[in-house]
């Protein structure tokens, strides 16, 4: 059989596979979940194949790029099917956010500033969902806004998802009374600054175009002094740094933050200085937060994939070098 034919068959197989599962989904198949035994088996298989790669490399047969790619793909995908029993401690930084929210009186107003976009959603969306869930469970009022154009859009996705959950849906929460989305406002950090004077000056209408004064929840919210807690989800500039410098330092807002793993270290100093009540950093932060809230969903699930992918990269570095040193550093390996 020619390569071309094989490739066509592979594409056809993928299509048929997708079609079957897609139809399955449409007709109500349950999502697959590996049992502990199967999970264990998969992990062992993954480790065994790593060993096999090591052996191959030692023999001087460098595995090709495609094998590396395939391996990474599988290693990242498999943990998504697994049921979790990974125990992880909740770090003080994450506990800080959780404690701050749970200490609020029911009815308190919480401002969620969503300053991120779809590319960083894998890290930040689970945080947003968990945070919103906690707020609704504790009958806190949510005000959403964003100084990134796509932030409020992402928040709507999270709202939609959480409102559909049975226990939340049972509360029959009303838009405008229990939560609002004020939408996006251009102007970067100056938006925060002006909000210190008046929210209304920055958000004449909400996301859907309803005038500010016609929203019962925010009608009496003049500025930050009427907000009990503020949570910022940020993946860059403008973001948590600006929120700390303006909202916290100048307007005395109590602020917690969720950041991408890349950005988190730049924000850490604010944590020890007390300007932030807590910080969720990257996927592990999201997973710990879910654990603190005792709702292990996306973040926790992603975390396992994240750990596995880290191990894979480290393993590849190690394998490459073990082979390199064993071969006496003589033959330059080409891959």
């Amino acid at each position: 059989m020619t390569t071309k034919a094989k490739e066509l068959i592979a594409v056809a197989a993928i299509l048929i596979f997708s079609l079957i599962f897609y139809l399955g989904k449409t007709f109500g198949w349950e999502p697959t979940e590996f049992s502990t035994a199967v999970s264990l088996l998969v992990v062992i298989l993954l480790l065994a194949s790593l060993l096999w790669i090591l052996v191959l490399t030692l023999q001087g047969k460098l595995i090709g790029r495609r094998v590396v790619f395939l391996y990474v793909g599988i290693a990242v995908a498999m943990p998504l099917f697994m049921k979790l029993s990974q125990e992880m401690p909740v770090s003080p930084a994450v506990q800080g956010v959780y404690d701050a929210v749970t200490e609020l009186e029911p009815g308190s107003k919480v401002l969620i500033a969503c300053d991120y976009d779809p590319p960083t959603a894998p890290e930040l969306q689970p945080m947003a969902e968990t945070f919103i869930r906690i707020c609704f469970q504790r009958d806190l009022k949510i005000i959403i806004m964003g100084i990134w154009p796509q932030g409020p859009q992402q928040a709507n996705l999270a709202l939609e998802k959480i409102l559909a959950e049975p226990d939340i849906a049972a509360k029959n929460l009303q838009y405008g009374i229990d939560y609002v989305n004020l939408g996006f406002q251009a102007g970067n950090e100056f938006v925060i600054q002006r909000m210190g004077g008046s929210f209304k000056s920055m958000f004449r209408t909400d996301y859907g175009g309803i005038p500010y004064d016609e929203l019962p929840l925010v009608r009496n919210v003049k500025n930050f002094s009427n907000i009990d807690y503020c949570f910022n989800l940020s993946s860059g500039f403008p973001g948590t740094v600006e929120w700390v410098q303006i909202a916290v330092d100048r307007y005395d807002v109590e602020l917690g933050a969720g950041n991408t793993a890349v950005q988190a270290p730049t924000v850490y100093p604010y944590l020890s200085s007390g300007q932030l009540t807590g910080l969720l950093g990257g996927m592990s932060g999201a997973a710990e937060f879910e654990r603190a809230a005792d709702a292990r969903v996306k973040g926790t699930k992603y975390m396992l994939s994240q750990s596995v992918s880290h191990i894979v990269v480290i393993a590849f570095v190690l394998i490459g070098n073990v082979a390199f040193i064993m071969s006496g550093r003589k033959s330059a390996l080409k891959g």
Partner: protein
């Protein structure tokens, strides 16, 4: 109808996602198609964004619209428009932009060198200052810290960790800079220092590599979650 549209939406995104992934195997028609769509869509996307946000949002709202109304009021004798929020300096940008477009006419295309010269000059001037201030002076000042004390003026109170840390920063910055000397041969003691500088640069690269690598994985997880979760519903 709406349901059909929803199916189409999911399949379209999945089709494009898989198309890009297929490049990992090799270049193929599926990738070429996704790539062509990507180039067309993204070029158009930025075209629209720049038009509405930069040209319309900045120039037209800030100056162009006002000028037109003002001209109209002059000719018809009507009331002149309110000048609130108007910045007529934006016209300079518009004129430079227009000169840029003259490239389309080969005969007077050389006029487009003016805006280019302007941009390059302004960039050079702005960054000259900014880099001296924020890259050179701020970093030099940050390196000048007492080696033996935790707080300035506290005397010799620091633990060994802080002293070693301070020394490492000083030595690293110093030798790193020595490496960048261009007009002196890297030989003798000078060469040795430069070599130490290279060691520090290598550690820097390794550390930032290790640091960035980890965060890159999250994106892949997000995409696979879309394929297996949102699209195929195989995982929760």
């Amino acid at each position: 109808m709406e349901a059909a549209f929803e199916h189409f939406r999911l399949w379209l995104a999945a089709f494009l996602t898989l198309g890009i992934f297929s490049f990992l195997y090799k270049d193929n028609p599926w990738y070429k198609l996704s790539e062509a769509i990507f180039v067309g869509i993204s070029a158009g996307y930025w075209f629209v964004v720049l038009f509405w946000d930069n040209f319309f949002g900045k120039f037209w709202v800030g100056a162009g619209d006002y000028t037109m109304q003002w001209l109209a009021s002059v000719f018809t004798g009507g009331e002149s428009p309110s000048a609130e929020g108007v910045d007529l300096m934006l016209w300079i940008g518009a004129i430079l932009g227009f000169l840029m477009l003259l490239r389309l006419i080969p005969k007077i295309g050389w006029l487009s060198r003016w805006p280019l010269a302007f941009i390059v000059g302004a960039t050079a001037g702005l960054w000259l200052i900014n880099y001296i201030a924020s890259n050179v002076m701020v970093q030099v000042q940050a390196t000048m810290v007492p080696l033996f004390s935790t707080v300035f003026g506290a005397g010799f109170d620091a633990g060994s960790g802080v002293i070693i840390g301070g020394l490492v920063i000083f030595l690293g910055t110093f030798s790193g800079l020595v490496y960048f000397f261009f007009s002196k041969a890297h030989t003798g003691a000078f060469g040795t220092t430069a070599r130490v500088g290279v060691f520090f640069l290598m550690i820097t690269f390794g550390a930032s590599f290790g640091y960035t690598v980890m965060s890159r994985m999250s994106l892949l997880i997000g995409r696979i979650d879309y394929l297996l979760g949102d699209w195929l519903g195989m995982i929760k």
